[in-house]
């Protein structure tokens, strides 16, 4: 029984990071995904802000779940999420004004990130505080990882640099399209393709193994 519980925790965490990755598998939260991933730093800042909002909201929603009448639950979740987003917005503006300037309108738009509200409705409001926080940590890490994957690919190809450090010397001609919106769609498409390929290969391997065992 105890062992199963431990596995559960691990499963809940890894689910968000990989198996049910909010971006690559569930394809949620595409707006910030495509809009602010033109450099690795922006992607990390956006991922970090979303991380904080998701974990804090999940914690609060699951702690308060027995006090929130279900008729007004969505509005209450939105109030909770919006509060954390506003707090993040002011904090970023005070602490890292240059990054805040780059992200601009996309920090307030975290309120409308369907991944966050989705986690509250589908998980945090139905599970214990501990599981809800672990689920949120997993999902938020998955989102951060996805943003970073997209942002670094786009910055490397689009500016020939990573975190502003040039990688290829002065003769590299940046692929400007990677920085522009089409580059976001192209990169996202290729990453989705990769994830589906990995998944399919794994399924096929599992099927082969099962077949081998049966015979």
């Amino acid at each position: 029984m105890v062992r199963k519980k431990k596995e559960d925790v691990y499963q809940e965490f890894i689910k968000g990071l990989w198996r049910d990755n909010p971006v690559f598998v569930q394809v949620l939260g595409m707006c910030p995904m495509l809009a602010v991933t033109n450099s690795a730093v922006n992607a990390l800042a956006m991922g970090g802000a979303t991380f904080f909002v998701l974990v804090a909201s999940s914690f609060l929603v699951s702690s308060l779940k027995s006090w929130i009448p279900k008729q007004v639950r969505i509005s209450t979740y939105i109030i909770i999420i919006a509060t954390f987003v506003t707090v993040t917005d002011f904090t970023l503006e005070a602490l890292v004004p240059t990054i805040h300037k780059e992200l601009g309108a996309f920090i307030p738009l975290i309120v409308a990130n369907c991944m966050i509200l989705g986690r509250q409705e589908a998980f945090a409001s139905r599970n214990s505080v501990r599981l809800a926080v672990i689920d949120a940590l997993g999902m938020a890490s998955g989102f951060l990882f996805a943003l970073f994957a997209l942002g670094s690919v786009r910055e490397i190809l689009g500016e020939g640099a990573l975190f502003g450090v040039p990688l290829f010397g002065p003769h590299f001609e940046p692929w400007v399209i990677m920085i522009l919106p089409p580059g976001g769609f192209l990169t996202l498409g290729l990453l989705l393709l990769f994830f589906n390929w990995v998944k399919e290969r794994k399924d096929r391997l599992a099927a082969q193994l099962a077949e081998g065992e049966a015979s």
Binding site: N38, S39, K65, S66, W67, I68, P69, K70, Q71, V72, R73, S75, T76, I79, I80, A82, T83, T86, V87, F90, T91, E93, A94, L95, P97, K101, G104, S125, R126, N127, S128, G158, E159, P174, V176, I179, L180
Partner: protein
């Protein structure tokens, strides 16, 4: 233990009052939290904005050691009282002896994607723009953002005649003192910057030359 809200609610529907109280309480808490965080971060944010602006003024007006907010009133430039609209204020730059060197003019206008806000330094005696700093823009990364990332483009504005007005020319074709080499691939952003400066000049240059007495810095330093 794991009592889901759906299960506990079964049978007894919550009263309307309870719903209103729950939402009202959530709103109240949220308001309190937001206001306290706003109050806590406001000084840092204002200080940072003031610092950025001051640095920009000193950058676009070389040799300046003191600055003061000025406005145009009754045919001359006078120290601003703080009640003016933001667009009616320019910054006077003074040297160490309190002599007026030039003005730093903030202005904004439409860029390729969003409003560009910039600050440029202007010397009324020489009728020249001597520096330009982009304060805010959301131009295309890699192309339009060269209006502040491309040192060669920014250098265009270090010794630029405003007569009869500033014009953009194709990169490398600059020949007259009032011409600016546009950025290849970001012509619209380049033109937008020039347009914003021209508009600012149309508005302010006659006022600068119209004021016969140069405004002196206030004794407190006016920083």
């Amino acid at each position: 233990m794991n009592n889901r809200p759906e299960l506990t609610m079964k049978g007894s529907e919550p009263t309307s009052a309870r719903l209103v109280i729950t939402l009202g309480f959530a709103g109240l808490l949220s308001g309190l939290i937001i206001v306290s965080v706003y109050e806590a971060t406001l000084p840092t944010i204002t200080a940072y904005k003031a610092k950025v602006l001051k640095e920009a003024v000193f950058k676009v007006l070389p040799g300046v050691s003191n600055m003061q907010r000025l406005t145009y009133k009754e045919g001359g430039m006078t120290p601003a009282t703080g009640e003016e609209e933001e667009e009616d204020v320019v910054f006077g730059g003074y040297d160490a002896n309190g002599r007026l060197i030039g003005y730093a003019v903030p202005n904004a206008g439409p860029g390729f994607q969003d409003t560009i806000r910039l600050l440029y330094g202007y010397l009324p005696q020489e009728r020249k723009v001597v520096g330009m700093e982009i304060l805010q823009s959301r131009e295309t990364p890699g192309l339009g953002d060269k209006i502040y990332k491309d040192a060669a483009f920014v250098a265009n504005f270090e010794k630029l005649s405003v007569d009869p007005e500033i014009v953009t020319v194709k990169k490398g074709r600059k020949s007259a003192p009032n011409e600016v080499d546009a950025i290849t691939g970001a012509t619209i952003s380049s033109k937008a910057v020039v347009q914003i400066i021209n508009r600012g000049n149309q508005r302010w240059v006659p006022r600068f030359s119209g004021s016969e007495t140069m405004p002196k810095p206030t004794p407190v330093g006016g920083q």
